[in-house]
Subunit: 203 residues, 2 copies
């Protein structure tokens, strides 16, 4: 169970760099995005090099903005919201029209719409939609190269869900409760870590 | 699976209120404590009223300080580190010698040493030590009233471990990897939520 990805879609998160690190919640709940990035990458003694995070930010003033982060290339990522918020803000401060620009080691920004993004992702990943009413993750056969799609605190619109469901192999649930996105990422990681470890032990 | 508790012990976290919310990592890694509190209490649509957090802070200048938070009494808890850091700072700003003082609804501060704390906790809770090399949590029979003990980013000293192990029913592991304390709390919650839900379904 190597490569794994997480795409978090936020309809509120700010898409320019004109926000304060002292008020991440005020930047369209950028604090949620920061905690998701922490969840995707950090373990106690280092970074998950096999993980990729995609943040699709759709708040004002310049949506869409996609921030892609590659665990294998990230040089330094502090665990705290303020540090991660600084890296996101730096990415949002770089002007981008076509293509993708690297704004820090392992961090890339681009402008891409949801459906186009999924067309790109589906070439590379097996896509799963993480939602409370999905199939229990413990019963889903997940392969190397699974990408999990999550909404932010307000979830996705119906139109967005239709696109996600068009590309997703399945809708998967990590808990009987409705949990914050960053917590869902932790539970998905834990399930994959366990399988990866069991495969390793029996090999 | 109702009541559950988490005790996080930090040998570095600051024990006075003279720190800046702009630099929580600089306050003896107070950011770690903030993320643990988020993990203990927050779900998507509210608060875990059945949860209790104990933070035992042992950094300078005035150790020990115990902050107890009761989910059933907390009035408002933002999910972001800065908000939680503000509540912790407020608790640390209140002078306390004997007994316990409430500093916000559901938040209490006191001065108590590790062994004395465990003597008190063991009357009320079944204590489990969360550590990477413990027994797999999925195989441990956990009752209502389980309390999990975690170290911070630097873990516990040998002397502290001896005390924890004296009071703990078992050492329990939530992952084959070494994970941050706040992530471990999420995985422990997820396991308890699942059992609670299964019990509910079969009842």
């Amino acid at each position: 169970m190597g490569m794994r990805g997480f795409l978090v879609i936020s309809n509120s998160a700010r898409t320019s760099s004109d926000f304060s690190l002292n008020d991440l919640p005020g930047a369209g709940r950028m604090d949620v995005m920061c905690r998701c990035v922490n969840s995707v990458f950090l373990t106690s003694h280092g970074m998950r090099k096999d993980a990729t995070a995609y943040l699709l930010l759709l708040g004002p003033p310049d949506p869409p903005k996609l921030i892609r982060m590659e665990g294998s290339e990230l040089k330094y990522l502090g665990p705290d919201e303020r540090n991660i918020g600084g890296l996101i803000r730096k990415a949002l401060g770089v002007k981008v029209e076509r293509g993708e620009r690297m704004t820090s080691p392992g961090i890339y920004v681009s402008k891409i719409h949801l459906e186009e993004l999924f067309e790109m992702l589906s070439d590379e990943w097996d896509i799963y939609y993480l939602r409370e009413d999905g199939e229990d993750i413990r019963n889903v056969g997940l392969e190397d190269g699974s990408l999990f799609v999550l909404g932010d605190q307000n979830g996705l619109t119906e139109d967005q869900e239709r696109i996600v469901e068009k590309f997703a192999k399945a809708t998967v649930s990590v808990s009987p409760l409705s949990l914050h996105s960053d917590h869902c990422i932790i539970i998905a990681h834990a399930e994959l870590d366990r399988r990866s470890h069991d495969e390793g032990s029996s090999a």
